[in-house]
C-alpha cells in the first residue's frame, strides 16, 4: 500500500525525471493511494473501503471520498504485480497541510523531537516549492524465513526548498548570478541535534547528480591546465567550485558500467556523533557559478485540454523527447526494430464522457494508425455515477521519434444538483495520468556494497524501478447551475408551471358543447327548484361536484342545513347511546 500527500508539482524539466529520487518520489498533487489486497476478489472492494476510512481517520484527510466507486479504479497493466486485486485512487484537490504532516510524524519513533525529523519546522517546509509525504506499507510474509515476516513501514518526505538567500536577495544582475549557498540551518531554520535514541542509524546524504558532476569535472579539467593541482574525487568537498562545511563520512560514487560518463556522487554524513551542544549543520558554499541540468526522463510528458465551451473537448497527451534520451542505452531491440516502450495510465471521472474510439495518435506530427503504435490497450468505459473511465495503453514508439501525441475527445456530462461540490464554479479535476517507461530503469549502481545494506535509502536507490512521471492535473469547467439564485429560479419556475397547468387543466376539463347543451336543456324546462335540484344532482353524478359554487348558495345551504340537522340528531343519538346506553 502506498499513500502520498503532495502539495505543488514536481517540475520534471528543472528537477529531473530520470534518477530514482524523482521517479520514486514525484507524486501527483493531492492524495494518491494504491493498495494491493491479498484477499479474494469479491472482498477487495470491501477491504478498500475499510482502508480508506481508516486512513482518513489517521491522517485527518478526506481519503474516505475514495470509498465511492466513482473515484477508484482497478488498473491491470500499469502496476506490475497486480492480479485484479489492486485498487488505485486519487484526490487531486485535497489540500495538504500540517494537519496531515503531524499524524505522519507521529508514526516516527521520536516524532519531531529528536533526530533528523527535528528539522521539520512547519513554516519552512511549507514555504517550499514542493512537498510530498509518502507512506508505504509492505508485507514481507512471503519471505522464506519466518523471522523476517511482518509489515514494513516506509516513510518518505520529499521537499523542494528554496534557499532563503534566494528569496530575500534581489538577484537581478544575471551575469554574476552565483548559485545560492545554503546550509541546513538556513533552509530549515533548525539544526540536527543528534540522532534519535531508538534509531539504528541516522544519516544525511548529499547527492550531486550526474549533470553537476560532469560539469564540475569539465571545469576541473580546464583548471588543471593552468594550475598544477590534481583533485581527487573525494576531494570534492573542498574544491574550487564549492565548499562543504562538514567532512563527509562516506563518499559513494555511482558506477556506470555501460559507458564511462559522468556519474553522480553521494556524500554520506552520519548524525550519530553530533549532539545538542554540537549540532550538525551541513552547509554548502558555492564559489563559482555552475550551470547544469538534471537528467530528464526519456520523454517529457504534458497533458492539456483542447477546445472550449461547456459541451465537448479533448484531452491531449503529448510526449516530447528530451535531449538526454538521445544518448541513452534506451531502446529495446525487438524483432530488429528499435522501439521505446511507454505505458500510459489514465483515469477519467464519469462526468467526462470520453470516447475511446476517437483516440488519435500522432508520431512526429504524422497521424498513425493505432495498431502501429499501440501494443496493448485496456479500456473500461465509465458508467454514469458508478465507475470512472480507465484507459491503459502500452505503446511501442519508434526509437528516433521526437514527439508523440494522443488525443481523446469527450463530452461533458451533467451532474445532479447535489453532486456538485461547494466550489463547483472552479471546475472539475481530471487526475494526473501516469506515464511510465518500463524500458528505462531508474537505479544507481554503487561500487562498495558493505555499507549500503544498512542504509535503506541507498539500497532503495539501487532497486530497479521503471521511470515514472505524472502529468499535470487538468481543470475542466463544467456547466454549473447558478447556485446563488435557487430561490429565484424555483419561484419563477413554479409560477410558470402553475399558470401553465392551471390554464391547461381549465381548458381540458371544460367541455364547451356539453355546457351549452345543458344550458339549453335547462332553459327549456324552467320548472320549480326540485327539477333544478335534480339536474344539479345529475351534474354532480357526472363527476363535477365542485362546479356548485356561489350563486346556487340558497339550495346548497338548505341541503347543508338538512345535513347538519341529520348530523345533529345522529350525534345526539350517539352521545345518548354512549352515556346512557
Amino acid at each position: 500500500m502506498e499513500l502520498s500527500f503532495t502539495q505543488g508539482r514536481w517540475r520534471y524539466e528543472q528537477w529531473g525525471g530520470f534518477d530514482p529520487l524523482s521517479s520514486n518520489n514525484a507524486k501527483p498533487p493531492g492524495v494518491e493511494l494504491w493498495a494491493v489486497f491479498d484477499v479474494p476478489q469479491s472482498l477487495v472492494d470491501v477491504y478498500w473501503r475499510n482502508l480508506t476510512h481508516t486512513l482518513s481517520g489517521l491522517f485527518c484527510a478526506s481519503i474516505n471520498f475514495l470509498e465511492s466507486s466513482t473515484t477508484y479504479s482497478a488498473p491491470e497493466l500499469t502496476f506490475k504485480p497486480s492480479f485484479g486485486n489492486l485498487r488505485y485512487g486519487t484526490l487531486p484537490r485535497e489540500a495538504v497541510c500540517t494537519e496531515n504532516l503531524t499524524p505522519w510524524l507521529k508514526l516516527l519513533p521520536c516524532r519531531d523531537k529528536a533526530g533528523l525529523s527535528a528539522l521539520m519546522d512547519r513554516p519552512s517546509i511549507y514555504r517550499g516549492f514542493y512537498h510530498s509525504q509518502r507512506l508505504r506499507l509492505t508485507s514481507s510474509e512471503s519471505g522464506s524465513d519466518e523471522v523476517d515476516s511482518g509489515i514494513g513501514l516506509e516513510q518518505t518526505l520529499t521537499v523542494v526548498l528554496q534557499p532563503s538567500s534566494w528569496r530575500t536577495g534581489k538577484t537581478y544582475s544575471v551575469e554574476t548570478n552565483i548559485q545560492p549557498s545554503w546550509s541546513i540551518s538556513s533552509i530549515f531554520g533548525r539544526n540536527i541535534p543528534g540522532k534519535c535514541v531508538i534509531a539504528k542509524s541516522s544519516n544525511v546524504y548529499l547527492h550531486l547528480d550526474n549533470g553537476l558532476v560532469g560539469e564540475l569535472k569539465n571545469l576541473e579539467r580546464e583548471n588543471a591546465k593552468y594550475v598544477a593541482n590534481t583533485f581527487e574525487s573525494e576531494g570534492f568537498q573542498s574544491n574550487h567550485a564549492f565548499k562543504i562545511s562538514v567532512t563527509p563520512d562516506k563518499v559513494f560514487e555511482e558506477v556506470d558500467y555501460l559507458h564511462g560518463k559522468s556519474t553522480s556522487v553521494i556524500y554520506g554524513f552520519s548524525v550519530e556523533k553530533y549532539s545538542d551542544s554540537q549540532p550538525f549543520d551541513l552547509g554548502l558554499t558555492w564559489k563559482i557559478p555552475v550551470v547544469w541540468s538534471c537528467q530528464q526522463a526519456p520523454l517529457h510528458a504534458s497533458r492539456f485540454l483542447m477546445g472550449s465551451g461547456n459541451e465537448r473537448g479533448a484531452i491531449a497527451i503529448s510526449l516530447e523527447s528530451t535531449e538526454s534520451s538521445e544518448g541513452l542505452p534506451t531502446s529495446h531491440i525487438i524483432d530488429g526494430r528499435c522501439e521505446l516502450r511507454v505505458d500510459i495510465f489514465q483515469v477519467v471521472p464519469w462526468y467526462i464522457k470520453v470516447y475511446f474510439h476517437t483516440l488519435q495518435v500522432f508520431v512526429d506530427k504524422q497521424p498513425r494508425a493505432m495498431a502501429d503504435v499501440v501494443d496493448k490497450i485496456r479500456v473500461s468505459p465509465s458508467k454514469d455515477k458508478v465507475s470512472p473511465g480507465v484507459m491503459e495503453m502500452i505503446l511501442k514508439l519508434p526509437c528516433g521519434s521526437k514527439s508523440a501525441a494522443f488525443s481523446l475527445e469527450f463530452d461533458k456530462g451533467f451532474l445532479h444538483i447535489d453532486e456538485y461540490p461547494p466550489d463547483a464554479n472552479q471546475g472539475f479535476d481530471i487526475p494526473s495520468a501516469l506515464i511510465s517507461f518500463p524500458s528505462f530503469n531508474a537505479r544507481m549502481n554503487f561500487s562498495e556494497d558493505e555499507f549500503l545494506n544498512n542504509s535503506p535509502i541507498l539500497s532503495k536507490f539501487q532497486e530497479t524501478s521503471p521511470v515514472l512521471s505524472y502529468t499535470e492535473v487538468l481543470l475542466i469547467p463544467l456547466t454549473t447551475p447558478d447556485f446563488s439564485m435557487p430561490y429565484n429560479v424555483i419561484t419563477i419556475t413554479c409560477t410558470v408551471f402553475a399558470l401553465y397547468f392551471g390554464s391547461l387543466l381549465n381548458v381540458l376539463r371544460r367541455r364547451v358543447d356539453e355546457e351549452e347543451r345543458i344550458l339549453r336543456s335547462r332553459a327549456g324546462r324552467k320548472a320549480g327548484w326540485i327539477s333544478q335540484l335534480l339536474s344539479r344532482l345529475s351534474a354532480k353524478l357526472r363527476g363535477r361536484p365542485q362546479e356548485q359554487p356561489t350563486s346556487s348558495l340558497p339550495y346548497s345551504f338548505i341541503s347543508f342545513r338538512l345535513v347538519l340537522k341529520i348530523l345533529l340528531v345522529a350525534s345526539i343519538a350517539v352521545t345518548w347511546q354512549y352515556y346512557f346506553g
Binding site: Q7, G8, R9, S407, D423, G427, V473, S551
Partner: protein
C-alpha cells in the same frame, strides 16, 4: 343559467383584457412604443452603482509590493528596446530576442509562437460549421508571419491548473516609447511575480506581435493554445531557432507551452493622452456583445480610483456629449428627479443633467459596440474561449520622455496590474458571481439585464397585439362576406378560411429565404478576384434584385393572383410578418440584447405603420397621405445602408464600409444591407409593399441572429 354566469365571470378578466387590448391595438401600440423609448432614455437615471460581488476577490486588501527597483529594471528593458530602434535593421528579431532574454532571466519559461495572420475573409457559411474548421487554409499568407513571445511563470506552490494571462501588444517595426511602455509595465509586474510567494495561478505573459493588427496575434495564439494541430506537415512550429544576442545564446522553442485553464486576461496598452489627467480606459466589449464579468471591471475601477488615483473612463460617444437635446432631456430628468424627491425623500432618482449626458453617451456607445458585435480590442479573442478579459489603455498627460514622469507612471500602472492579478489570484472559482449581462453608463454605474429588458419588452409588446388584432379583424370581415355564399359548405369554407394564413406565411417565408440568399451572396462576390468595394456593392445589388425577381416569378406571383382580395390579404400578410418579426426579435434579444434593441428601435415603428402604398394612394385623404409619407420615411430610415449613412452623417469621421474590416463586422453589416434591398424592391412594387418590407427587414435580422447564434455556440 347560474352556471354560465359563473363561468362567464371566471373567463372574463383575461378574455376581456385581451379583447380590450386587441380592440385598442393602435392606442396600445402607441403607448407601449413611447413607453419603450422613454424607458430606454430613462436607463442612465436607473443605473445602479457597481459593487464587488465576489468576496474572495478582496481588491486592495494587500499593500502593493511593487517598488522602484522593478521599475528601474523595466526602464532598462525600455531603454534597450528603444536603442534598438535607432538602427531599424533587424529590429524585429532583435527585440524578440531581448524580450525573451529578459523573461528567461527572471526564471520564466519562454517560448516563441509563430503565426500567420489570417486575412480577413468573409465566410458566411462558417456559421454552419465549427469554429475551428477554418484554421490555416490559405497558403498565400505563408510568407507573412509574426512572432509572439510567451513567458510563463509557474506558481511556486500552485498545481498549475489555472492561469492568468497578461497581454501586451507590441509592434516591433513601429517602435517608439508608446509601444515599449506597456512592455515596461508588464515587465515590472512580471519580475515582481517571479519572486512572490502568494501566487496560486500561473502567469502567462504574451507579447503579441501587433504588426498585423492587435487582434490577430492574440487570436492566433489562443487558437493554437486551445486547438493545436498535431499533424501540421509544414513543420511550422517545430523548428527551433537560435536567437543570438551578444552573450545570450539560447534555444527558444517554437512549440507552444501550456498552463492550465485561463481564469482571466488583461490586455495592456498605452496611448498618448491629450487630457488633463492620467486616465485609464477600459474596453470590455467582446464579439457579439458578450461582456466580461462585471467584477473584473469593478476591481480595475476600484484599484485605479482608490489606490492609484487614476481617472477611469469607458468609451463614450463624444458627439452625444455636446448635443442639445440630450442636455435638455437631462435637465428634464433632473427636475423630474427633484420633484420626485419632494414627494418621497427615499426615492433617489435624481441625477444631474451633466451626469445624465455622460451616462447617455456611455450607454449609447456601449449599446452600439455590443450591437455591432465587433470586439473593441484584443480581449475579444479571449471571450470566444470563455475567458473574462478586458483591455486597459493608459493615457498620460505629459509625454513619456521625461524619466521621472515615466517612472511614476510605470509604478502606478504596475501597481494597478499587480493588484488586479492579486485579486484574481485570490479567486478560487472562476468569475461567476457578478453580472454578465449589463450596460455600463459610467465606469462605476451599470444597468442590469432586469432593468433594460423592461424597455425592450415594452417596445416589442405591441407587435403580437397588433398581429392578433389584424388577424381577428380579417376573420371578422371575411365570414360575413362568405356566409351567404356558402352556407351549405360552411364546414369546408371555414376550414379553408382558418388555413388561409398559411398562404401569407408562405410569402413571408419566401421573402425570408430570399433575405438569407442575399446575405449569403457576398461570399460568392468576394471570390471575384481584384475588385473594389464599389463594384462589389453594385454587383451585389444587381444579383439580389435578380434573385428576387426569379423567386417572385417561381413562387409568389401565382398564389398572389389567385387570392384576389387585397383587403383581407394584406392584413393577414402583415400579421404574419409582424409575428415572425416578433419571434425574431425575441430570439435576438436572448442572443445579443443590444442588436435586438437597436433593431427594434428602427423597425418596430415601421412594422406597425406599414400599410399598402396602393391603398393609400387610392385613398386620397389627408390621413392616408400622411400615413404614406410616414411609411416611406420610416422605410428609408430603417433600410440598413440608409441607417448607416444617416448614422455616419451624425458622427463625423466614421469610416465607411470597408471590406478590409474584421469579417464579423463586415458580415453583420452586409447581412443588414441585404435586408434593405428586399425592402426597396418592394417599395417599388407597390402591391403588397410595406408588409413585405418588414419581412425583408426581418430576414437580415434573422440571419444575423443565426450568425450570432453560431458564434455563440
Amino acid at each position: 343559467m347560474a352556471e354560465t354566469e359563473v363561468s362567464k365571470k371566471r373567463k372574463r378578466p383575461i378574455v376581456r383584457l385581451a379583447v380590450l387590448l386587441l380592440s385598442h391595438s393602435v392606442l396600445v401600440s402607441v403607448i407601449c412604443c413611447t413607453a419603450g423609448v422613454f424607458g430606454l432614455l430613462l436607463l442612465p437615471v436607473l443605473a445602479k452603482n457597481t459593487y464587488i460581488s465576489e468576496n474572495a476577490l478582496m481588491p486592495g486588501s494587500a499593500s502593493s509590493m511593487l517598488s522602484n527597483q522593478e521599475v528601474s529594471e523595466a526602464n532598462k528593458l525600455i531603454k534597450e528596446l528603444n536603442n534598438l530602434h535607432s538602427n531599424p535593421l533587424g529590429a524585429t528579431t532583435e527585440s524578440h530576442g531581448i524580450i525573451a532574454k529578459y523573461m528567461s532571466n527572471l526564471g520564466a519559461q519562454v517560448n516563441n509562437h509563430k503565426f500567420h495572420p489570417q486575412l480577413n475573409q468573409f465566410h458566411p457559411l462558417h456559421f454552419f460549421s465549427g469554429p475551428d474548421s477554418g484554421v490555416m487554409q490559405e497558403n498565400s499568407t505563408r510568407s507573412l508571419y509574426g512572432i509572439n513571445t510567451v513567458g510563463i511563470i509557474r506558481a511556486p506552490r500552485g498545481d498549475g491548473k489555472e492561469a492568468i494571462v497578461l497581454v501586451t501588444p507590441y509592434n516591433a517595426v513601429k517602435g517608439g516609447v508608446r509601444e515599449t511602455l506597456s512592455l515596461g509595465i508588464a515587465y515590472s509586474v512580471f519580475s515582481l511575480l517571479t519572486r512572490v510567494t502568494w501566487l496560486a495561478k500561473d502567469i502567462i505573459w504574451l507579447v503579441a506581435d501587433s504588426q498585423y493588427g492587435e487582434y490577430a496575434p492574440v487570436a492566433a495564439w489562443l487558437r493554437d493554445y486551445h486547438t493545436p494541430a498535431f499533424s501540421n506537415l509544414d513543420s511550422l512550429n517545430t523548428e527551433t531557432c537560435h536567437v543570438g544576442n551578444n552573450n545570450f545564446e539560447s534555444k527558444i522553442s517554437y512549440g507552444i507551452r501550456r498552463s492550465g485553464t485561463m481564469a482571466a486576461a488583461l490586455v495592456l496598452g498605452v496611448a498618448y493622452g491629450n487630457e488633463n489627467e492620467d486616465t485609464l480606459g477600459i474596453y470590455a466589449e467582446a464579439s457579439n456583445g458578450q461582456m466580461p464579468n462585471l467584477d473584473l471591471i469593478n476591481i480595475v475601477h476600484y484599484l485605479a480610483v482608490h489606490r492609484q488615483g487614476l481617472r477611469v473612463k469607458v468609451e463614450q460617444f463624444h458627439w452625444l456629449l455636446n448635443s442639445k437635446w440630450v442636455k435638455s432631456l437631462g435637465e428634464v430628468f433632473e427636475s423630474l428627479g427633484k420633484m420626485v424627491k419632494t414627494l418621497n425623500p427615499d426615492w433617489k432618482l435624481g441625477i444631474s443633467a451633466a451626469d445624465y449626458v455622460e451616462g447617455a453617451a456611455t450607454l449609447a456607445s456601449s449599446l452600439y459596440h455590443q450591437a455591432l458585435g465587433v470586439p473593441t480590442g484584443p480581449h475579444g479573442a479571449f471571450r470566444d474561449y470563455q475567458v473574462d478579459a478586458i483591455t486597459l489603455e493608459f493615457s498620460l498627460r505629459i509625454s513619456f520622455d521625461r524619466l521621472d514622469r515615466r517612472n511614476d507612471f510605470l509604478l502606478h500602472g504596475g501597481r494597478l496590474i499587480e493588484g488586479v492579478i492579486r485579486s484574481v489570484n485570490n479567486l478560487l472559482e472562476k468569475f461567476h458571481q457578478s453580472f454578465f449581462l449589463y450596460l455600463l453608463t459610467s465606469p462605476s454605474k451599470f444597468v442590469s439585464v432586469g432593468v433594460y429588458m423592461i424597455a425592450f419588452a415594452l417596445l416589442v409588446a405591441p407587435l403580437p397585439v397588433v398581429a392578433a388584432s389584424l388577424y381577428a379583424k380579417t376573420l371578422d370581415l371575411n365570414p360575413t362576406s362568405e356566409k351567404d355564399k356558402s352556407a351549405t359548405s360552411n364546414e369546408l369554407g371555414s376550414v379553408l378560411q382558418s388555413w388561409k394564413w398559411l398562404n401569407s406565411v408562405k410569402t413571408v417565408f419566401v421573402v425570408h429565404f430570399w433575405g438569407a440568399t442575399v446575405s449569403l451572396l457576398p461570399y460568392f462576390i468576394s471570390q471575384i478576384p481584384d475588385s473594389d468595394p464599389t463594384t462589389n456593392f453594385s454587383v451585389w445589388i444587381l444579383l439580389s434584385i435578380l434573385s428576387l425577381e426569379i423567386l417572385r416569378w417561381i413562387l409568389v406571383s401565382p398564389s398572389s393572383h389567385i387570392y384576389g382580395l387585397p383587403q383581407g390579404e394584406w392584413a393577414i400578410l402583415k400579421s404574419a410578418t409582424i409575428s415572425s418579426f416578433f419571434i425574431g426579435l425575441g430570439l435576438m434579444s436572448v442572443i445579443n440584447f443590444a442588436t435586438a434593441e437597436i433593431g427594434a428601435l428602427l423597425m418596430v415603428p415601421m412594422a406597425l405603420m406599414a400599410h399598402p402604398l396602393k391603398l393609400d394612394v387610392r385613398g386620397q385623404s389627408l390621413r392616408s397621405i400622411l400615413r404614406m409619407i410616414c411609411n416611406l420615411v420610416l422605410g428609408v430610415i430603417s433600410f440598413p445602408p440608409a441607417t448607416f449613412f444617416v448614422f455616419k452623417g451624425v458622427i463625423e469621421g466614421f469610416s465607411g464600409i470597408k471590406a478590409g474590416d474584421f469579417w464579423n463586422w463586415v458580415e453583420s453589416l452586409w447581412a443588414w444591407n441585404s435586408a434593405t434591398y428586399l425592402y426597396i424592391e418592394y417599395g417599388n412594387i407597390d402591391r403588397l409593399s410595406s408588409d413585405k418590407r418588414e419581412s425583408n427587414k426581418d430576414a437580415p435580422l434573422l440571419s444575423c441572429g443565426m450568425l450570432l447564434l453560431k458564434e455563440f455556440a
